[in-house]
Amino acid sequence: MKLNNILKLRIFLFSLLGLIILFLIYQAVVPFGKITYKGNACGNSFFISKLKPTDRTSGECQNIITGDPVYFNLNTQRTFDSAKVTVNYKTSDQNSIIELGVLADAQKHYLLKPLENKILDNLNWSTLSENGIYLLQKKQKYEDVSKFLDNIKEIPRDKIATYYYNLPNANEIPNYGNYLASSKAFPSDSIPALRGAYQFYTYLERGNLDFIFKFKKLDNDKNEAGSIDVYYKNNLIKQGDISANSPIELTMENQPTGFYKIAVNTSDNIITEKIKSTQRIISFINKVQLAKTPEPGLITMTTDSSEIFIRTVNPDSLQKIKIGNKILNITETYKQFSQITNSAPADIKLAKDGVEIAGDGLFSFSAEALYNPSYKKINKNANLENVDYIITKYAPNNSTDLWKTKTVEFDLKNSFRYEGAYGFIISIPGLLADDEIDDFIELGNIEIKLKGRTLFEKVLSFKF
């Protein structure tokens, strides 16, 4: 072999290596800020992981979802600003709602978006759309969405339901003076010890917002705390640190009338032993964790949730719980039990604490403390008998195709990226892996189109 030929071979091999290296650098840097990752449930993609946990999936490729929820990760080499997720799937037609979400924060909150809602798809109501907002009317009264929004204050609140559309919360409670006269003593006295993070609404009619929180650490060796955030009309107006050593006083004088949201952000290592307040409305949003105490006594709660989910990790907390007129038997630890409420609001009576109670509405520890300032939201148990209008960002689609392809867009700037991965969730409310019903969602291909800053924009914004 001539020296010339050896040189040609060497140049060829090193050029090939150079091209591979350039390709790898290009894929990692994504200089133009756009890249598409495709995954197949049966494939072995590094970028789109397989569905987890496997006890909620079945099939050869673990791509048949039999339990809610399931998760997958998108591993990326760099950060992006937005993601367009296209999912190809087939359903057994027994579950009305399918949602896709992205991990929003370290507390494992997910920002969900609708993929399919059969309740809206199958409604034979008149539908209007304007700028991606859909208005469904039982009897057509408004000619366009903006006219409906302009006249919304004239429509009784219980006649309107929302689905992935935020209408402003109620600003005030009508006849609050009468309400105060009829309500009993301070509802905060009946709040038992709570574990971990929670959020609640409180109402103030001009005056002082006053709360005293008393916290305790379960494990003193862990150096964990957290914060208390106060929101008014979705704006953060005050933030305080949590300390387990002394009571935290949250006082805000001369505050305007309206609903305030107070969020206690902390880990499960922190127990709120006591909440003291003169406020009459204290309505916990979606979830409360009752801490395990030596002598809990009977706990009575009120909720406007249409379905209640209860779970415990304490063998001592296994019990029969009365929800409305029905009994829910909690027979196993680490298993979620659910019960549909017959009427809203419904009472929940527990003999033991140490359980986590969740639902799609609000919870309070006395009937007088419950007031929901939000509009009714559509969920899988939605009763639309009294509803005349539904406003949503979901496009109703009555497709009869066996395999459906839907696209959802997420803002990744406000999402949580952990160890180079964005977390995604597929939620199918009511899909249980261990029930007798043969319902499922079979996942085909997933395509994720990512968009972010270009290399040029990154260089321009670089600061020394």
Binding site: M1, I6, L13, L16, L17, I20, I25, Q27, N75, Q77
Partner: protein
């Protein structure tokens, strides 16, 4: 023929050695930059195999 195999294998051995060093450096710089597409074990096995072929063909 043996000489040709020897010369070709030698070139492959060198390029795989450089590839392995560069890929390891890239992985150290940004994890999963290479492994997202192929395993470094695969490159290592190829390099070792080419080294063995090189040794055998050199003796012949």
């Amino acid at each position: 023929m043996t000489q040709i195999i020897y010369l070709i294998t030698r070139e492959i051995f060198y390029v795989l050695l450089v590839a392995l060093i560069v890929f390891i450096a890239m992985e150290m710089l940004k994890p999963n930059m290479v492994q997202a597409y192929f395993s470094l074990n695969f490159v290592l096995i190829l390099w070792l195999a080419s080294g063995m072929v090189l040794l055998v063909s050199r003796k012949l």
